[in-house]
C-alpha cells in the first residue's frame, strides 16, 4: 500500500517536540528496548521515531505500525539515546493522536474516566475504607470535586472523554 505523507503532522510534530530533529536513526533505542526484544522487533521505537520524522501519521495512528501502545514506558530508550531525543514524550503525543482517532486500549479510557469523576486513578472501595480503619489510618483529604471539574473543563479533557 502507498503511505501518505502528512506534511501538517510532520511540521507540527517537529515544532512541538524539537528533540525529534536530533534523531539520526542509530537504533540505540531499539537495541535497549525490552519490548523490541520480546516481540522480535515488531515493536521498534526507532521506527516510530522515523515515521514521526517522515510525517507518516496514518501509519502510526490508524494502522498502529508499529503499535505505540506496546511501549512499556520503562524510559530505557530515553536514557540511552545519544542525541537526547525525548522518545516517551513523543510517543505520548502519538498516543494522544491515536486517542483522537479512536485507536486506544480501553483501560486508558477507564483510568481517564476515574480521574475525571473523582480526581483519582483508583477510587477507594468500601472494603479498603474498612481495612484502613482497622489499620488505624486517617481519612485522606483529596481535591474538591468542583475544582477538578473546573480544571478539566478548561483543559478540554471533559469534552475529549465524551467524544472518544
Amino acid at each position: 500500500m502507498t503511505l501518505k505523507i502528512d506534511f501538517g503532522f510532520r511540521k507540527q510534530f517537529k515544532t512541538y517536540k524539537f528533540s525529534l530533529n536530533y534523531c539520526y536513526q542509530c537504533g540505540t533505542c531499539s537495541g535497549g528496548c525490552p519490548v523490541a526484544k520480546l516481540t522480535n522487533g515488531d515493536y521498534n521505537p526507532r521506527k516510530i521515531i522515523e515515521a514521526c520524522i517522515l510525517g507518516l501519521k496514518e501509519k502510526l495512528t490508524t494502522l498502529l505500525e508499529p503499535n505505540v501502545w506496546q511501549c512499556s514506558t520503562c524510559q530505557k530508550c530515553v536514557e540511552y539515546c545519544p542525541q537526547g531525543v525525548e522518545l516517551t514524550e513523543i510517543f505520548d503525543h502519538v498516543k494522544n493522536l491515536c486517542v483522537e482517532a479512536g485507536n486506544y486500549p480501553q483501560a486508558y479510557k477507564a483510568q481517564g474516566e476515574a480521574i475525571r469523576e473523582k480526581g483519582s486513578a483508583i477510587p477507594m472501595s468500601n472494603a479498603i475504607i474498612k481495612r484502613r480503619e482497622r489499620l488505624g489510618l486517617p481519612v485522606m483529604k483529596t481535591a474538591s470535586h468542583s475544582e477538578i471539574q473546573t480544571l478539566l473543563r478548561e483543559t478540554g479533557f471533559i469534552k475529549k472523554m465524551e467524544s472518544i
Binding site: V35, L38, C74, G119, R134, L135, A143, T155
Partner: protein
C-alpha cells in the same frame, strides 16, 4: 525542613498496609512531616499523558502548586510513578515557558499558580540519605532475608530528570538492605521493568516481562523481593498466583515494600503492620526467620 507527604492513589486505595508501615517508620525516626492534602492523582505517568498530555501537565502542576505555600518544604512520595510525574512536570514547565503559561492560565481559574522548583524526593532517597541515623533504630536485623532488589523503572530513569542513583548500576537499595542486616541477591533481569504499565494495552506482553523477572528471582536463590513502587508491588505480588496457574510455574516470593522491611527491622510486628494482606503470604518466611511467633 518540613516534609509534605504526597500519598498518591495506589498506596492508600489498594495497599494501605504499606502506608501503615511508612507512618510507623516516620514516627519512629521522628520525621517532621504532614500529609499533603487536597491532591489529585499525580497523574499516572504511564496512563494520563497518553490520553491527554496537557491535562496531565495541568493536574501535576496543580499538585505542585499546593506546596507553594509551604516555604522550605520538600514533597516526599512512596511511589516512583508519582515522583516521576511531579519531577517531570516540574522539569517541563521550567524549561518550556509557553507550556507553563498555558498551564497557569488554567490554574488561575481555580485560584492556583505553578511557581516552579518544588523539590520532590522519593522515600527511598530520603532513607538512603539518612541511613546512618536510621540504622540506630534497627533492633532486629534482617538476618536470613535473601532479597531480590527490584529498582523498577521510574525510580532511576530518565536520570536527567530523576537525578538519583546510577541508572546502569544502582546500589542505594542494595546498601539499605545490607545496612538492615539482610542480604541482597544478584539476579538476572534485575534492572528490567516489572511488566505493569504495558498490561493496560497488552496483557500477554506484560506477562512475558513479568515472567522473565520472576524467573530471574527464582534462579537466584532469593527468598523475597524488595520494591519501592506501588505499581511494582501490586503487579509482582498479585501476578505470581495467576502466572503459576497459566504457566505452571511455582513462584512464591513475598514482596515487601521498603518501609515494611524497615519496620520489621525496627521491631514492629507483622500483625501490626498488616503484612497478612499481601497476596503472596509472607507468614512462612517470617516464621522461619523468627519474625513471627
Amino acid at each position: 525542613m518540613e516534609y509534605k507527604l504526597f500519598w498518591g492513589c495506589t498506596i492508600p486505595a489498594r495497599i494501605p498496609f504499606v502506608e501503615n508501615s511508612a507512618r510507623k517508620v516516620f514516627k519512629k525516626i521522628g520525621l517532621n512531616y504532614s500529609d499533603l492534602e487536597d491532591t489529585t492523582c499525580c497523574p499516572d505517568p504511564t496512563g494520563l499523558p497518553a490520553v491527554d498530555q496537557k491535562t496531565w501537565l495541568t493536574l501535576g502542576a496543580r499538585n505542585l502548586s499546593l506546596v507553594n505555600d509551604y516555604n522550605n518544604s520538600t514533597v516526599i512520595s512512596l511511589c516512583s510513578g508519582c515522583v516521576e510525574t511531579l519531577k517531570t512536570v516540574n522539569h517541563i514547565l521550567n524549561v518550556h515557558g509557553d507550556k507553563r503559561e498555558e498551564v497557569n492560565k488554567y490554574l488561575t481559574k481555580i485560584g492556583k499558580k505553578f511557581s516552579g522548583n518544588v523539590p520532590v524526593k522519593h522515600v527511598g532517597q530520603l532513607i538512603y540519605e539518612n541511613l546512618d541515623e536510621i540504622k540506630k533504630y534497627v533492633v532486629k536485623p534482617l538476618k536470613g532475608f535473601k532479597v531480590a532488589v527490584h529498582y523498577g523503572c521510574h525510580f532511576l530513569r530518565p536520570s536527567e530528570i530523576i537525578e538519583w542513583d546510577d541508572p546502569d548500576n544502582p546500589k542505594t537499595l542494595d546498601e539499605i538492605v545490607t545496612a538492615l542486616g539482610g542480604e541482597s541477591i544478584p539476579y538476572d533481569n534485575k534492572l528490567e521493568c516489572c511488566g505493569c504499565p504495558v498490561g493496560k494495552s497488552d496483557e500477554e506482553l506484560s506477562n512475558k516481562i513479568t515472567m522473565q523477572k520472576l524467573q530471574g528471582v527464582a534462579d537466584s536463590g532469593a527468598n523475597c523481593m524488595l520494591v519501592v513502587c506501588p505499581a511494582c508491588f501490586t503487579h509482582l505480588d498479585f501476578k505470581q498466583k495467576s502466572l503459576n496457574k497459566e504457566m505452571e510455574t511455582q513462584f512464591d516470593y513475598p514482596v515487601f515494600y521498603l518501609t515494611e522491611l524497615l519496620a520489621l527491622a525496627m521491631g514492629f510486628k507483622p500483625k501490626d503492620l498488616g503484612v497478612r494482606y499481601h497476596v503472596v503470604k509472607a507468614k512462612k518466611l517470617l516464621l522461619e526467620l523468627g519474625f513471627m511467633d
